[in-house]
Amino acid sequence: MATIEIDKVSKIYHGGVPAVSEVDIQIDDGEFIVLVGPSGCGKSTLLRMVAGLETISSGTVKISGRVVNDVEPADRDIAMVFQNYALYPHMSVRENLAYGLKNRRTPKNEIEARVAEAARMLELGPYLDRKPRALSGGQRQRVAMGRAIVRHPSAFLFDEPLSNLDAKLRVSMRGEIKRLQRRVGTTSLYVTHDQLEAMTLADRLVVLNGGRIEQIGRPLDVYHAPASTFVASFIGSPAMNLVQGELHGSRLAIGPALIDLGQAVPTQGAVTVGFRAEDLQVATGGAAAHADTLPLSVDYVEELGSQRLVHGTVGDQAVTVALSSDAPLSGEMQVAVPLGRLHFFDAGTGRRLAWSTAETHRTTTTANLLETAR
């Protein structure tokens, strides 16, 4: 069990732009941290620096309080699960699992016991004497997990371990990873570009963009209070609606619509307004007193079964609304925006603008709820 401290870590490839710049993350013992971001955001590079597979240009990485910048990967007491499994093709499953232990001069009976334990945990028993090529994708992934588990390392590092699996298997393996990590309680650092994976697995997630941290926080906190337009558009599906608006006094103008905020406004003038598709509702005759409506011209509708996504425009800006599957549809609709669920971002920098006490109150409540749920 261990903590991982990433302190002002940067990676600069010779002469180029930094792939990772000045990243700080403190990971507690037993915590499951997910690094999430689009491809090229530096998340894998950061993970590989922790693993020791990439050199660290500046800053320090500490595992269990020990600076590991110049420590060989094998001596960092970490185990890594790779995207393409990286199993040793010439070894049987048993040999794959035992390889790391053998090289650490673990006693033979101890190796056998640990391999048996991992095989039981991952239901690999019947496959122990097979070669990796005789296994399916999901089984290979489990062997890769097993190879990490048998080592009893200080930390697990996962580099997009589920990307090569088909959608159905991905969901079940996701659950399995979460369950295993809970069970063995090993500190984990997990890289993915899939926001759903990030949301479901993470104790805390780290959203990266262009080598920098956009936001660190618990999944629901990030979901409910994204720190920037980047996070807002990246976390959550469908992506948060982001439209350009103007604030005049307490009034917000979005295209043709005027909404009275009726309380303290964050700024004046141009602003980026964000609202989630699922927070919008079709305005019925007597719309909620504190909500004003947006006129939506519908372009097309996506039926998801449990809900329908209505894509349209307000003025000339694209807006998506998630409605229940029995909601009435028409070409022109009035949708109601619950005022408490509006997000404001600086029109220039895209950073979040804090604006009401109600909002901060609500996110802390969800955080507390989450805490009690654990």
């Binding site: 890594m80 790779f82 393409n84 990286a86 010439h90 390889y99 090289n103």
Partner: protein, 293 residues
């Protein structure tokens, strides 16, 4: 694989014809002729031939000189194969680890392969020249008076060195591309699982290179047996005398210098059988221990 449909059933054979013609004319036909003439005693002046049955084979296999040459050929082949594979692999592993300027290293290492065997033999000969050869001087420094062309052992040594030197780049190319074809993540996983890079090499990287190594083993055995002809020819300059030669050179000497077509043909048939058996054995006993990914 896409299945191509031909309008005429003869068309595919037409496409194959040039390749088949080359194989038949330059491989099967000479082989058939060699087998045929190995049963005849040919008149040295070409006035006719007499059927002698297996006499040529018996004569060859009972000849102590032939057996001595066969023994030398076995040692020569084993040493050349081993050292050219080992050094090629060593250089490939080292070049693979170089990050900066690796293209330069590779080009320099590969360029030796562009040298034709007789030229390589000539260059090798100069290395071992009695008066100007740097190798001779180095050997002299250590008190070894090297006399290539006069001393049996010294000539053998020079032959092996030149033959190995000539073949290293070939092995280097294959080993290097084999190394670069290994999935990076498997090597990284090994780096996490095993601290010692030497142990990592023998337990993970080498087993994954085994298909390449096996292919090269067969190629190198064939090279040492046959393609070193040019090197040997330059070294001994037609006058084997007391110098070591290999079986293939003996075939040439007897056939084209001694005009003993029948005996020479018998020798080449024996050589053909030896190579055939050797290849079959390699496939039987080594290949099944290889893992193809």
């Amino acid at each position: 694989m896409k299945r191509v449909q031909f309008s005429s059933p003869l068309l595919p054979y037409l496409f194959l014809a040039p390749q088949l013609a080359v194989i038949v004319i330059f491989f099967y036909w000479p082989s058939v002729r060699a087998i045929q003439s190995s049963f005849y005693l040919e008149d040295p002046f070409g006035f006719g031939s007499t059927f002698v049955g297996l006499d040529n084979y018996i004569g060859t296999l009972l000849n102590p000189e032939y057996l001595a040459i066969a023994r030398f050929t076995a040692i020569f082949t084993a040493l050349v194969t081993f050292f050219s594979l080992a050094l090629g692999l060593l250089l490939a592993v080292k070049a693979d680890a170089v990050i900066r300027g690796n293209a330069t290293y590779k080009t320099l290492l590969i360029s030796v392969y562009a040298i034709a065997p007789p030229v390589a033999g000539l260059i090798g000969m100069m290395f071992f020249d009695q008066h100007i050869g740097p190798f001779v001087k180095i050997a002299a420094f250590f008190g070894w008076e090297m006399k290539v062309g006069l001393s049996y052992f010294d000539t053998a040594f020079a032959m092996i060195v030149v033959a190995v030197w000539k073949q290293i780049p070939y092995n280097f190319i294959f080993f290097l591309s084999g190394l670069q074809g290994l999935p990076a993540s498997v090597r990284e996983a090994a780096a996490i699982d095993c601290r010692s890079s030497v142990k990592r090499f023998w337990t993970v990287i080498f087993p994954l290179l085994a298909p390449t190594a096996f292919f090269l083993l067969i190629i190198n055995v064939t090279y040492a047996l046959f393609d070193t002809f040019g090197v040997i020819d330059v070294m001994v300059k037609d006058k084997a005398a007391n110098n070591p030669i290999t079986l293939v050179y003996k075939v040439y000497m007897d056939g084209f210098r001694g005009n003993d077509i029948g005996g020479s043909s018998a020798q080449s048939v024996i050589l053909m059988i030896v190579v055939f058996v050797l290849t079959v054995l390699q496939f039987r006993f080594i290949e099944r221990r290889i893992h193809y990914t």
